[in-house]
Symmetry: C2
């Protein structure tokens, strides 16, 4: 059989990160490549007890088909939480449950983009989102960023010159892969520009609660009086990534379309774990729990930054995140990071090459991404030491 | 904000069934409308015990991100099972886990269809599948069926005359909504025709294990020596529908594309429940469990058929399924079932109008679907009695 795949999937490659993750079976490799939350951040004992209660009292609901929008009590508690924490949600908004933030991103694209339409995004951006746009036949176009986030002038230029732009995809807080945060003035400007040009904002905020330094900056969704913003977040970094539970806050006219698309994708999200999340959020102290995660991540991030400071040659620069999971390192002299990263894996340290995150699949990058949430403290020390030694030698010869 | 939705979603309506289900909050309504497995078919006590063990021993895997293809031990056990039970799987095939059979259907469409391409399907067919094709911009085109399943001559005519056909979607065993089963000769003919015309077969088999009468008929996938068939099934009707776990057996060249598309949709399926299913399938006797479900469904189906025989006016015909969840009733004289069903809801009995399942969203149907797996025996008796009285009166006046 000669398979004729759809145009959108014919040439799409699997995410390099997922593939790295899949092949990382060699236990002697220290991985800074993943984006996994620390296993310590999952409240196992509480979830176990609550799960037992669901099996005992609510199994006929928890194991049966449910409604696509999600478990109503969980939607209510999430709605109240984002309103309280982030001033998110107006009367025209609705909150729905999705199978991880990833599905929220994908559904937003499906809802607004025809094949060939454009999604603007930060350059570089989250590969999972870029590939979900591509697998829907939409085309990601990057907008330049600096240490303060997306550059509004560059965004306006794209809005003016690129045709068929339907969405701006943005991770304003602790961006993946760079770890940077868009400042408040720019968030306001981004909102106004998109409103002006009639382009929906898809605000992805998976790491917003993982701030361990500095003050919260208002989300773009908190400014949304006109129904321009689709806000996407998840419980993956707080309760469990493996359960695949995320949520979307967006104008009801938009969520109702997303719900129709979701029906066709998976009918609904695992209802047992929706009920489990609801129980956890109402019967346990999630804020105390998040405080603990922040302490873990501050410690791990500080440790990695200290090690980088000490071990890396001075001409490699890196970001200093105040939350989230990632540090972004850049080689000097515009050196391509792809061969650098390939050689590093042979030294048993895995990182993700920056080109992975570009809107142009054939683009080159001088940067690479480090994750500090997953490796043990000892692996951080040993891995960065290897990285530093390797980098010194590499830069001397290239 | 004036929302400009994608062409594929702009006019798509939510599934009538999901909407009926959502609004069925009036406890005095007897529902034959759903497609839910009987709650008695979920092995709650065993799942509870096994879940406890996962929290205690494997939580760091069960709550963490995992790989898109699915939990390898579950893939292996499912692969062995379908090989053993249904002679499914050749060397070129791979088995992947999806978030319910629904996702397998959707991914197959995404993998093969560009916007505007055609998916042939039985007329009538499963609304969830039709809507997932529509939400990908593909167009379902119906092929006529009779009591022995899809009519090969009609299929060939469509294959000859309709342009850009990429898939045939077919539920050969205990079809939804009709409850009919495609005979062996036709299955062979369908396979040969699709091979000849270079069209992939998407064989959906959610009910195959729920046969309570007669002999198994080989799946189309069991004939697949050339890699023409994507086989889709799930554990929804056997272990739990709410957990959203299904699987796909298809040529590896195809599953690898489906995996890329799945990455963009939900990264992976809830891993805790994948592990739970694996444990159940290796530590408990799933065949014994399925035998029990068959006994329940035989009893319920027989009861509903007996009641229909007794209560319905003789000029309403209905199918006599040998498995699955549904009975298909047809009004005489080509009467439109839509106003009939509407009036019946006012008598507090809900069924699904046949037009819901047509490839033409504006089409009319004389039929309606009854589900016997969800209602209690008493509700079956009372509901069919109301249906019979209402039908007699309706037919006398229309």
């Amino acid at each position: 059989m000669d398979y004729k795949f759809s145009n959108k999937l014919a040439n799409l490659k699997p995410s390099a990160i997922r593939e790295i993750f899949k092949n990382l079976t060699d236990p002697s490799v220290i991985s800074f490549g993943g984006g996994n939350p620390s296993p310590e951040s999952f409240p196992v004992a509480e979830l176990k007890e609550l799960a037992k209660g669901i099996f005992e009292k609510d199994s006929s609901v928890a194991l049966q088909y449910s409604i696509t929008e999600g478990y109503t009590p969980l939607r209510e508690v999430l709605k109240a939480r984002v309103k309280d924490k982030f001033s998110i949600g107006r009367d025209f908004d609705d909150t729905i449950i999705v199978s991880g933030g990833q599905q929220g991103i994908e559904l937003a694209c499906k809802t607004f983009c025809n094949e060939g339409d454009v999604v603007l995004c930060e350059e570089p951006s989250f590969i999972g989102a870029l590939n979900s746009f591509r697998s829907n036949g939409a085309r990601p176009v990057g907008v330049a960023c600096d240490g303060e986030g997306i550059i509004p002038e560059m965004l306006e230029e794209k809005l003016k010159t690129v045709e068929n732009v339907k969405l701006l995809y943005i991770i304003p807080t602790f961006q993946n892969p760079m770890g940077i945060t868009t400042n408040l003035e720019r968030r306001r400007r981004v909102y106004e520009l998109c409103k002006q040009y009639g382009v929906m904002i898809l605000e992805d905020n998976p790491y917003g609660e993982l701030r361990f330094d500095g003050e919260d900056i208002p989300t773009i969704k908190s400014m949304d009086e006109e129904g321009v913003v689709i806000y996407c977040s998840s419980l993956s970094k707080i309760l469990s990534a493996g359960m695949r539970i995320g949520y979307v806050v967006a104008p009801q006219a938009v969520t109702s379309k997303m719900v129709v698309a979701k029906q066709g994708e998976d009918v609904h999200t695992n209802i047992f774990f929706q009920m489990l999340c609801h129980k956890y959020m109402t019967e346990c102290d999630i804020d105390e729990h998040i405080k603990k995660i922040r302490v873990i991540y501050r410690k791990k991030c500080t440790l990695m930054l200290d090690c980088l400071e000490k071990e890396l040659p001075g001409d490699i620069t890196f970001t200093r995140p105040k939350g989230g999971l990632f540090i972004w390192c850049t080689l000097p002299r515009g050196l391509d990071s792809a061969p650098f990263v390939k050689g590093l894996v042979e030294k048993k340290v895995a990182v993700v090459p920056g080109a992975t995150f570009l809107s142009d699949e054939n683009g080159k990058s001088s940067s690479f991404r480090l994750n500090y949430s997953t490796p043990s403290d000892d692996d951080i020390r040993r891995g960065v030491k290897i990285l530093g030694e390797y980098a010194k030698e590499y830069l001397a010869n290239n």
